[in-house]
């Protein structure tokens, strides 16, 4: 048998073809067929950013469980003054079943002091955030973020995928789908979960690709010896012996290609090559032994323990340097229904330095300007105490009507605080104290809905959130559904 081997003109042209032919009815159908057949293609569906992006990559420091805004960035002297007194019903907000049955809802003022930091004089917790204080001039604090959901699972799914129901692609997957990757040695979308967190569970759907191809899903970096699942050769197999076996394996698969003439086989051969490269590049990216003492001075000794939040922050910087597009850290344990002051002390101690060190490190390396760093959780907490209130101890239930986040770099204004809440910290208000009645159907510049946040993140990456869509079940889906406005006044 001596088959004619086509030199695969399709492969050469497919990117070109794909772009050119997305118009036209036949083109549409054909393009989607080809997109399926050639799913190893690395280009994104948008073929590149729609306009000059401010950010080339995102590092999302997700604080899972809902960190309290009252103990971080939203200072409420009124609550401190009236600690223990009954909160008026109009400030209760939509309570969860955990505290809605409570007979009394006493106001809980933060036990911590607040102060103003940086040249810009940004206000934040003076006791718990000594490191974040140092980056005050680099971050934009948003005290007016709000969301639709009040339970962890729907809320975290909403902020990550734009829908409370499961099955939609997450932010990182949308970016991978839209922008593709130029990185052939490392996964484009990496997820890390602190091992020193604990608390509410996380789900793989949060970094899942939903209805998009599974190649867009986030790859989890673990804290153990195996940074990526299945990356390490089995015991007893050296790289050299693996290499020589792979050469023969590829030759075997080439034999199959000669017979079947299916370009998918070529694609598979390429995947084996990529896998082999990853086996080298991932350990290299996570081998911190080449870091100078100045790194440890910055991130602290805890960064030497793999899997801690600090170590993951450092790992995020190393991945950003190596061209990863979307790096997401999760730190669990912010869900303080009771014993909140103690819990906040502990969580801040574990995360404050790492977050700030990362921003400083990126800045000194010139990476901050095109790296968008995001800090925040899935919702905020109530102004009243859940459960017993004492002078120095209280809890807080979930609160969706307002909470605080910050962003830095990637074309976001630093040294800026936006957003106001009423004296109870229960609702978003305008600077003059008048109410803001915003919802996802009705944008208001004084409030930042999750879809607005998502639109802004996409915009910084050069993507118009209304144009990044995927047709599934006959409908064009977007990360921002049919909502979302980019928040212009925080963009530099």
């Amino acid at each position: 048998m001596n088959p004619i081997i086509p030199n695969d003109p399709f492969a050469v042209n497919r990117r070109h073809f794909f772009k050119k032919s997305t118009t036209g009815i036949g083109g549409m159908a054909l393009a989607s067929m080809i997109a399926k057949a050639y799913d190893s293609d690395h280009s994104g569906v948008l073929g590149g950013p729609g306009f000059t992006p401010k950010a080339k990559r995102v590092i999302y420091l997700f604080q899972s469980g809902g960190p309290s805004q009252f103990e971080t960035f939203d200072h409420k002297p009124y609550l401190q003054k009236h600690h223990g007194e009954e909160l008026p019903p109009e400030a209760h907000g939509r309570a969860t079943g955990m505290s809605s049955n409570q007979s009394s809802k006493p106001m809980a003022g933060s036990v911590f002091k607040f102060g103003k930091f940086g040249k810009s004089g940004q206000e934040m917790n003076a006791d718990l955030l000594p490191w974040t204080q140092k980056i005050a001039d680099d971050i934009c604090i948003m005290r007016n973020v709000y969301t639709d959901a009040i339970n962890h699972d729907p809320a975290i799914t909403f902020i990550q995928t734009g829908a409370q129901i499961a099955g939609r692609p997450c932010l990182g997957s949308w970016l991978s789908y839209g922008l593709g990757t130029d990185n052939s040695d490392l996964p484009n979308f990496i997820v890390m979960v602190s091992k020193n967190g604990g608390g509410q569970p996380l789900y793989s759907r949060l970094w899942g690709s939903g209805f998009l191809d599974s190649r867009h899903q986030g790859m989890q970096f673990l804290s153990g010896d195996d940074r990526v699942l299945y990356l390490k050769n089995p015991r007893g197999i050296s790289n050299k012996s693996r290499r020589s076996m792979l050469q023969k394996l590829n030759a075997l698969n080439k034999e199959a290609f000669y017979k079947e003439l299916d370009p998918e086989i070529e694609s598979r051969i390429a995947q084996y090559e990529m896998a082999y490269r990853m086996q080298a590049s991932v350990p290299e990216a996570s081998d911190m032994s080449d870091e100078p003492q100045s790194t440890w001075d910055l991130y602290g000794e805890e960064a030497k323990q793999p899997g801690t939040y600090a170590a993951n922050c450092l790992q995020a910087r190393r991945l950003a340097e190596r061209g990863c597009q979307f790096i997401q850290l999760y730190h669990q344990g912010w869900d303080a229904h009771g014993g909140l002051p103690g819990s906040m002390r502990d969580r801040c101690k574990k995360t404050d330095r790492g977050s700030a060190a990362l921003v400083m490190d990126l800045k000194q390396r010139g990476l901050l300007e095109d790296t968008l760093v995001i800090w925040g959780g899935e919702f905020g907490r109530t102004p009243y105490s859940q459960g017993l209130i004492k002078k120095d101890n209280y809890g807080r239930d979930h609160h969706q009507a307002c909470f605080s986040m910050w962003m830095a770099g990637g074309g976001i204004k630093g040294g800026l605080t936006v957003g106001h809440t009423d004296k109870y910290g229960s609702k978003i208000v305008r600077p003059d104290g008048s109410p803001v009645n915003a919802n996802k159907h009705h944008y208001d510049k004084d409030a930042i809905h999750i879809h607005d946040l998502q639109a802004t993140i996409l915009h910084q990456m050069g993507v118009d959130h209304t144009k990044l869509s995927y047709k599934f079940q006959g409908r064009r889906f977007r990360l921002t559904d049919v909502h979302g406005h980019k928040v212009d006044h925080i963009i530099a």
Binding site: F10, G27, P201, Y203, S238, L261, Y272, T466, Q473
Partner: protein, 1073 residues
């Protein structure tokens, strides 16, 4: 090059649909454009018809435009008068359609199609998939007389010829056989299967294929394979899916699906059982079990969740799943508004919703240990025998009690004469003081301020007005300690000293006290005063485990003055309860007693006010399994509060007293202080005194009662071990359903937006005589001319075999879905399927024996350029195997696969969750793996196992580096290679034979010369490597749990293992060709 392909494609695209180049068809050419680009604003969603225009509707499109009278969107035959044409060609951004904001653009060729259509007369056609299935579909005659083997081929070859294509040559029989093995069983052929087939080919070549198919269809592996595919659609998983994602028992359903495929249950029955098996007359256990399908909606037990929100979500999920799995419709779009593309209104949606909302559930699950009712108990045969014994024991104990009740009259009289009516002793003036007591007292708390808690040293209570009478004291209670921190005191009722005031948040609770289940009788009495009378239900006392999401236990509640006493496992469907008919007056002291006789029936509960029975109604009368299941919280007996639940705020309570049996009315009146027991006993009529006597003073009766409780306990403890599966069970009165504006669960529910059960009118009408419930819905779904049910199913089976459906969008047969490539073939298959009693085996057999399926799958350069997706079926199917099939193949060919089937799921190797594994579990077929809904196995997700959270009918087929890493490094696959190598080493003596055997076992064919050469090279290289590194060989051979046979040479084993690894990673191993 690119352009040429596009043209070729367009030609075959239009030709394939039987159209000349000049004429355009509405369904084939025009509607896809209008739907995709126009219907969003001018489609079926009436609330969103911009300018009042609908372009999906002929009348609206032709009518005069509302905003511009005299003008028409479409004037048939006249481009210049058709506003549509003018607007799509406008240069004015305010005029042009689609609007710039829509991000939608019409291409020139699309505009041309619209122009041709308008010029032709702008004729509308009904959507192909909504047209009832014809009774007869003519099979095209073809001049290709040689090729067709059955009617499928006539359809296919006709289409090929219309596109100037020829079928590919028939695949080599062994290649076909391997293909058909994968397609029918998800496994490669075993050596025996392969040898048999090859022998049959020789002996009776004409029959060999059919015999092979019949044999495969009869295997259990066939049923398992079909089940796996269905379980994606059924969103089957072994956990609940939200948040802590606890286990729930789904596997009996999975095993039923296997049985149903094995028995080839007709698909119309399969649909009916899934949707409404419980409603079939004299429903069997399997029919009820099948309805678990409707309970695989995700559920949560997250604290703070709103039960109504999740209830609505769950019911919606049932509608969506039915939509996708049976109807191929995107129902979810109509949850918030009328569908933008398909004629499904929001009203249609909620009418379907109303079929699925009437089971007695509350929307949340309590805990993984407690199935949310309604549920089905599935005792094994052994357990059934045990159950029978237990029930007999209960009945016997009950009978014994009744008999004693009947027989002890004379003893009672004796007792009465000697104790009650004893005359004064000689010379005395007073009768002997009575020594009556109340037996089984377990606790008493007087809440008197001056007494320090706990009550250990306290004198037991002296109820009744005569507080000083010492000789009628009750049996000393066990001394529980009551935590009364932060409790405020007030004046108690009558002469009872002080009482406590509850604040609703902090209760008075005990530990190790009042540990009750449904088999333990009890009585609880207390004085209480309700000062607030809250409208919501608040707890007076409880002994329950759980959170506000759900509790199990015992409680007394008040709701706007009405009292409810309950013994429950999962309210509302698994519990007994009684509620007072009248309100308890506010702001007054009342003595309230609850008694329970351990009978697990509502009749066994009673409530008394101030010593007199309260009139009550039954609010729940079904109870199974334990009501003392440890979930969350310690489950301590607590007054006035419950974890995260509404407590008895402003409630005053005093003199709490508890007994370990149901008090008789006489005693209740006594503890309520109506009368001192000695006096009431003297006065009481026999019928009132007799029960008191039996309960307190007759040892035989008391013994029999204990035996009754013990028998109940044995029954409950046995029941607790039964497998329990949530299923459907219709409520007596359907729950009303409403059109929820914007799909919000909080939307207003009014008489105006109330809906009744009905099916979408644009499909078939609801059958006249069918009941308006799920059974009627199933009858509607399985009407033999239903436009969607069979088309959707046959398409999915086709997809399973060919990789793509005849309709590419398996999940969507609506207007935005793909058109069928072979519409007549699809319809013919449907009708033939129905004519053959909806037999899946018949359907599958017919397809895999067709000439179409038998074609070789080689992708020739011609086909690569003309039809790479194989829409025209000019070649046989080929695609990557699923993750499960790849894993199962490795297990089978390596000889590791366990032949254990069914039962609870098992955990395979997982680098994170199951690093060590259990030898009995890691080699089971993937179907039996433990599928965690929020996180399926890593090595399966990497091979596109879909999310198990919602219905899924199409899998991705990506190619990724992670897949290479799994196949090379995952313990499961290394172990398989190692075991295959060991098996071969034991059987074959030389390198060549070993290599050939390894290759053939995995790929079902002989290695070619080049392949053999490459494998030989690997063996030589690896042998050298391991010779130089013997310790590495030892380490390598320890991967996985399966021990290596002792006498094997480690160097040879390790080297051959690498050869096997390479083989498992070849195209020949992981692709169906």
């Amino acid at each position: 090059m690119t352009l040429r392909k596009l043209i070729v494609f367009l030609i075959f695209f239009t030709q394939s649909l039987g159209l000349g180049a000049e004429s355009v068809g509405y369904n084939t050419d025009v509607r896809p454009i209008l739907s995709d680009k126009c219907f969003l604003c001018h489609g079926p969603d009436k609330t969103n018809n911009k300018a009042g225009l609908r372009l999906d509707d002929e009348a609206s499109a032709y009518a005069a435009l509302k905003d511009t009278p005299g003008k028409h969107a479409i004037v048939p035959g006249s481009l210049e008068n058709s506003e549509v044409w003018l607007r799509i060609n406008s240069n004015d951004p305010d005029e042009v359609m689609p609007t710039p904001e829509s991000n939608l653009v019409l291409t020139d060729s699309e505009k041309e199609i619209i122009a041709s259509w308008i010029k032709q007369g702008a004729e509308y056609e009904p959507h192909w998939a909504f047209v009832p299935l014809p009774n007869k579909i003519p099979v095209p005659t073809t001049n290709s007389v040689e090729w067709p083997r059955n009617p499928i081929d006539n359809f296919v070859v006709t289409m090929l010829q219309a596109n100037d294509l020829q079928p590919s040559p028939e695949a080599d029989p062994v290649r076909w056989f391997r293909r058909v093995c994968f397609d029918l069983t998800g496994l490669p052929p075993t050596k025996i299967q392969l040898d048999t087939f090859q022998a049959d080919l020789k002996s009776s070549p004409a029959k060999a294929h059919e015999k092979a198919v019949d044999t495969l269809l009869a295997t259990i592996q066939y049923a398992e394979h079909m089940t796996l595919d269905w379980l994606d659609a059924a969103r089957y998983a072994d956990t609940w899916g939200y948040h802590s994602d606890m286990n729930f028992t789904a596997w009996p359903y999975r095993d039923w699906v296997v049985r149903s495929y094995q028995q080839d249950l007709p698909y119309n029955d399969f649909v009916t059982w899934n949707i409404a098996g419980d409603l079939l007359p004299n429903a069997t256990q399997d029919q009820k079990l099948a309805t678990a399908f409707n309970r695989f909606n995700r559920m949560t037990n997250e604290g703070g969740s709103d039960a109504l929100e999740f209830f609505v979500d769950g019911v919606s999920d049932r509608v969506h799943t039915m939509g996708t799995a049976f109807l191929g419709l995107t129902m979810e779009c109509s949850k918030c508004h009328d569908h933008k593309y398909d004629p499904i209104t929001a009203k249609d949606y909620y009418q379907l919703f109303s079929f699925f909302n009437s089971i007695n559930e509350n929307g949340l699950y309590i805990h993984g240990n407690i199935s949310p009712p309604p549920s089905l108990l599935l005792p094994t045969d052994v357990q059934k025998a045990e159950l029978k014994k237990c029930k007999q024991r209960v009945a016997a104990a009950q009978q014994k009690l009744a008999q004693l009740d009947n027989d002890l009259g004379s003893k009672f009289q004796e007792w009465k004469a000697t104790v009650l009516n004893s005359t004064p002793s000689e010379g005395g003036t007073q009768p002997e003081p009575l020594k009556l007591s109340l037996a089984d007292l377990s606790g008493h708390f007087d809440f008197d301020k001056d007494h320090k808690q706990p009550l250990e040293s306290r004198t037991p209570p002296r109820p009744g007005p005569d507080k000083k009478a010492k000789n009628n004291r009750l049996i000393k209670p066990k001394p529980p300690s009551l935590n009364l921190a932060d409790i405020h005191y007030t004046k108690g009722p009558k002469a009872h000293g002080s009482a406590i005031i509850l604040d609703g948040d902090r209760g008075a609770s005990t530990s190790n006290f009042f540990i009750k289940d449904r088999y333990t009788p009890f009585s609880v009495g207390l004085w209480m005063k309700d000062t607030l009378r809250e409208k919501r239900s608040v707890v007076i006392w409880q002994r329950a485990h759980g959170t506000e999401v759900g509790y199990n236990g015992i409680d007394l509640r008040t709701e706007n003055g009405f009292l409810t006493a309950r013994v429950f496992r999962n309210w509302p469907d698994n519990g007994i309860g009684i509620k007072t008919i009248a309100r308890i007056p506010k702001n007054e002291w009342h003595h309230i007693t609850v008694t329970y006789d351990a009978s697990s029936t509502a009749k066994g509960l009673a409530m008394y006010k101030n010593g007199l029975p309260l009139e009550t109604k039954i609010v729940g009368d079904k109870l199974y399994k334990s009501v003392n299941t440890r979930t969350y919280t310690a489950g301590n007996f607590t007054l006035g509060a419950i974890f995260r639940g509404p407590g008895f705020k402003g409630g005053h309570v005093d003199e709490l007293i508890t007994f370990d049996r149901a008090l008789t009315p006489l005693e209740v009146s006594h503890i309520a202080g109506l009368e001192e027991i000695n006096q009431s006993a003297r006065k009481a009529a026999d019928k009132n005194l007799y029960p008191y006597y039996l309960s307190n003073h007759n040892a035989d009766y008391r013994k029999a009662r204990n035996e009754y409780a013990a028998a109940q306990k044995a029954l409950v403890q046995l029941e607790d071990t039964f497998t329990e599966v949530p299923v459907m069970e219709e409520m007596d009165t359907p729950r009303p359903a409403y059109l929820l504006a914007r799909g919000e669960f909080t939307a207003e529910r009014t008489e105006e937006n109330k809906v009744t059960r009905d099916t979408p009118a644009f499909l078939l009408p609801f059958p006249k005589d069918a009941p308006r419930n799920r059974l009627g819905l199933a009858q509607w779904l399985t009407l033999p001319n239903h436009p969607l049910t069979t088309r959707v199913y046959i398409n999915r089976i086709w997809q399973q075999l060919f990789g793509n459906g005849l309709v590419g969008t398996t999940e969507n047969f609506g207007l935005q879905g793909d058109l069928p490539t072979h519409p007549e073939l699809l319809d013919w298959l449907c009708r033939d399927f129905i004519n053959h009693n909806w037999s899946t085996k018949h359907l599958v057999k017919q397809i895999v024996l067709s000439a179409t399926y038998r074609q070789d799958s080689v992708l020739t350069p011609e086909l690569q350029s003309l039809d790479i997706a194989n829409k025209l079926l000019a070649r046989g199917p080929s695609h990557r195997l699923t993750g499960e099939a790849i894993r199962d193949s490795a297990l089978l060919t390596s000889g590791l696969m366990s032949d254990k089937r069914g039962g609870p799921p098992v955990k395979p190797y997982d680098p994170v969750h199951n690093q060590k594994g259990n030898l009995d579990h890691v080699h089971r077929r993937s179907l039996y793996s433990y599928w965690r809904r929020t996180k399926p196995q890593n090595n399966m997700i990497i091979f596109d196992k879909p999310s198990l959270e919602v219905c899924s009918v199409q899998r991705g087929r990506t190619n990724s580096p992670a897949q290479a890493l799994v196949l090379l490094n995952d313990t499961q696959f290394v172990e398989a290679a190692r075991n295959l190598a060991a098996n071969i080493l034991q059987k074959h003596g030389d390198d060549a034979a070993r290599i050939k055997a390894a290759w053939k076992t995995v790929t079902s064919r002989e290695a070619t010369g080049k392949e053999f050469e490459l494998l030989t090279d690997i063996l030589a290289e690896q042998r050298n490597y391991f010779k130089a590194n013997p310790k590495e060989a030892e380490a390598f051979l320890k991967v996985g749990l399966k021990p290596l046979p002792k006498d094997l040479d480690p160097i040879e084993s390790a080297a051959l293992t690498v050869v096997c690894q390479a083989t498992y990673n070849t195209d020949a191993a992981v692709w169906k060709r």
